[in-house]
């Protein structure tokens, strides 16, 4: 019984939150990695792109709610998301046209692209605060829980409860669907293969008659969609606050780099590595140990490695270690 309680405790506070957060990071890292693979630079504006997509989705959600449209137990934001994606695609394509295309023609250094993307980041950042403001927005509706801690307890008779929020379930399901669709696209369709070819060997892709402008355009469309979905799922789960989307940039880049930047599989693996490390290191193990250890061994402290205030230090440390030990990341980065 104690053992089951311990497992439930870990499931509730570590596994489910880690899995959900990992999905959100994985989707974010996929966008970063895609731009890196095709345009060959680190897109610092990606966090704000996520925030922008989420913002539009929120406005569309409010609009739908006014019209009385709802998805029943599911959040209305799910049907508002296509609007967010569409607007974000437009934003990305316009940014590419106005900012990045020039540098592509100039064959600028990746570092110049990176600096340009920081400029774009600040622009988006201002735009978002100007339109929706810097405050928290809650746009989740529908059923809050798939199963509450109380229901779980009565169901199993355990002392520990396991709560599973609707937003967590949606995050996991949507991520699985999106990732499967992305891999199908990259590995089975002509356009997807041409993107892999372009990423692998740009010159040879040109010699094969692959149109670079089209490859770049598709990369932006995919990135905008991924960013909006990742941002909306994160916002549904945690509430939307523009500043958090700047903060999440660090774990997202850590995920992309740890997995091997440019590698989609790596981005997903990296997302889960970062998410689970962050959750595991900031988790207080006291109760967990007390379930398993004999009476006399009860710990005094919280048994927490790091306070949650320092959770960003986790991704940063992992990032530094990976760069020192294996700079190409787990899945040998560059080229999708």
């Amino acid at each position: 019984m104690n053992f089951l309680n311990a497992i439930t405790l870990i499931g509730n506070y570590l596994f489910i939150p880690g899995l959900t957060y990992g999905c959100q990071l994985a989707l974010g890292a996929l966008g970063v990695t895609l731009i890196y693979a095709i345009l060959r630079y680190s897109n610092f504006a990606h966090g704000e792109t996520m925030a922008f997509g989420t913002m539009v989705t929120i406005f569309a959600t409010w609009g739908l709610q006014k019209l009385g449209v709802s998805l029943g137990p599911l959040p209305t934001a799910l049907i508002a998301m296509p609007v967010g994606i569409l607007m974000t695609v437009v934003l990305c394509l316009v940014s590419d046209r106005v900012v990045y295309r020039y540098h592509r023609k100039q064959r600028s250094d990746p570092v110049i692209f990176l600096i340009a993307s920081i400029g774009v980041m600040f622009l988006y950042n201002g735009l978002i605060r100007f339109v929706i403001g810097p405050d928290d927005q809650i746009f989740t509706d529908g059923e809050r829980f798939i199963i509450t801690a109380r229901e779980f307890k009565t169901l199993t008779g355990l002392k520990e409860g396991l709560a599973f929020k609707t937003t967590q379930g949606i995050t996991i399901v949507v991520t699985a669907v999106i990732v499967a669709a992305l891999f199908w696209f990259l590995n089975k369709t002509r356009t997807g293969k041409s993107m892999r070819a372009y990423s692998d060997n740009e010159d040879l892709a040109l010699l094969s008659g692959i149109n670079p402008d089209r490859v770049v355009m598709v990369a932006w469309i995919l990135t905008a969609a991924l960013a909006t979905i990742a941002g909306t799922l994160y916002g549904l789960d945690k509430s939307f606050k523009p500043f958090t989307y700047l903060q999440i940039l660090l774990p997202i880049f850590a995920a992309a780099i740890v997995g091997g930047i440019g590698s989609p599989v790596g981005a997903i693996a990296g997302g889960f590595v970062i998410a689970f490390s962050e959750v595991a290191v900031t988790f207080a193990y006291r109760k967990f140990v007390s379930y398993l250890a004999p009476e006399s061994w009860q710990p005094d402290g919280l048994l927490q490695l790091l306070s949650t205030d320092y959770k960003f230090a986790v991704s940063f440390s992992i990032l530094v270690i990976v760069l020192l030990v294996r700079p190409t990341g787990i899945f040998r980065g560059r080229s999708i």
Binding site: R190, N201, D203, L204, L206, S208, G209
Partner: protein, 234 residues
């Protein structure tokens, strides 16, 4: 006038010219070979023919039509195929995907052409699911040539197709190249294995410092004592 010709090409990568008044051409169904010392500008001449270099002077013609201002992609659609000297396969993609990418501009069914390539290079059929980066050097060159054949080009340009392959595989590859030429394709190749290449060449060009030094039939160049002494190692 040959089917593909670069006439009096002059130009380079930056301020300095690499090519000086260089003329190279190849006829349909024939093999033309370009030889010369390292750094002579052989690869540069190939790039110039394919539009990957800005020419200051001269012109490139295909079937009498001036294509000097076309981009490389447009030249692919005009029936030109090019296998560069280095990085000539998509290493992370399977052999079959490499061939598919070669045929990217085609809208019709490519199965037939793919089977022709597999007939030409049976080993590729066996390895078709394997990433091209995991093949041996000789197998990679076969993928590279196969990729270029997928567009069903009228002109096939090869930059050192036998670089880094054993003598036996080299003979193999030359036999295949002869077969390709027999189907009516114009084959233009740069070769370091000058003697063997000139033996199968209808036409040969000896390039030195970006300029034509000798131009003749393959057999005549092989018989020329000056060429033998200076470029073919006696």
């Amino acid at each position: 006038m040959s089917f593909l010709t670069g006439n009096n090409m002059t130009g380079g990568y930056g301020a300095a010219d690499i090519l000086h008044d260089c003329t190279i051409g190849v006829e349909k169904g024939e093999i033309a070979v370009v030889v010369g010392p390292n750094g002579a500008g052989k690869s540069t001449a190939m790039k110039a023919l394919f539009g990957m270099l800005d020419l200051r002077q001269g012109e490139v013609l295909i079937g009498g039509e001036n294509i000097t201002s076309l981009t490389p992609q447009d030249r692919v659609t005009r029936g030109m195929g090019f296998v560069p000297q280095t990085s000539n396969v998509f290493t992370t993609m399977s052999v079959e995907e490499n061939l598919e990418m070669g045929a990217f501009i085609r809208q019709d069914d490519i199965r037939g052409t793919m089977n022709q390539v597999y007939d030409l290079f049976p080993i590729l059929k066996e390895k078709r699911r394997q990433p091209a980066g995991e093949l041996s050097g000789g197998q990679r060159q076969q993928v590279a040539v196969g990729r270029a054949l997928m567009t069903q080009p009228e002109v096939l340009m090869l930059d050192e197709p036998t670089a880094g392959v054993s003598p036996i595989v080299m003979d193999e590859l030359f036999d295949r190249i002869i077969e390709i030429a027999r189907t009516g394709i114009a084959v233009l190749m740069v070769e370091q294995n000058a003697k063997q290449a000139l033996q199968i060449a209808d036409k040969g060009y000896v390039l030195v410092q970006g300029a034509n030094r000798y131009t003749d039939t393959g057999a005549a160049l092989l018989a020329n004592p000056d060429v033998r002494k200076a470029f073919l190692g006696g």
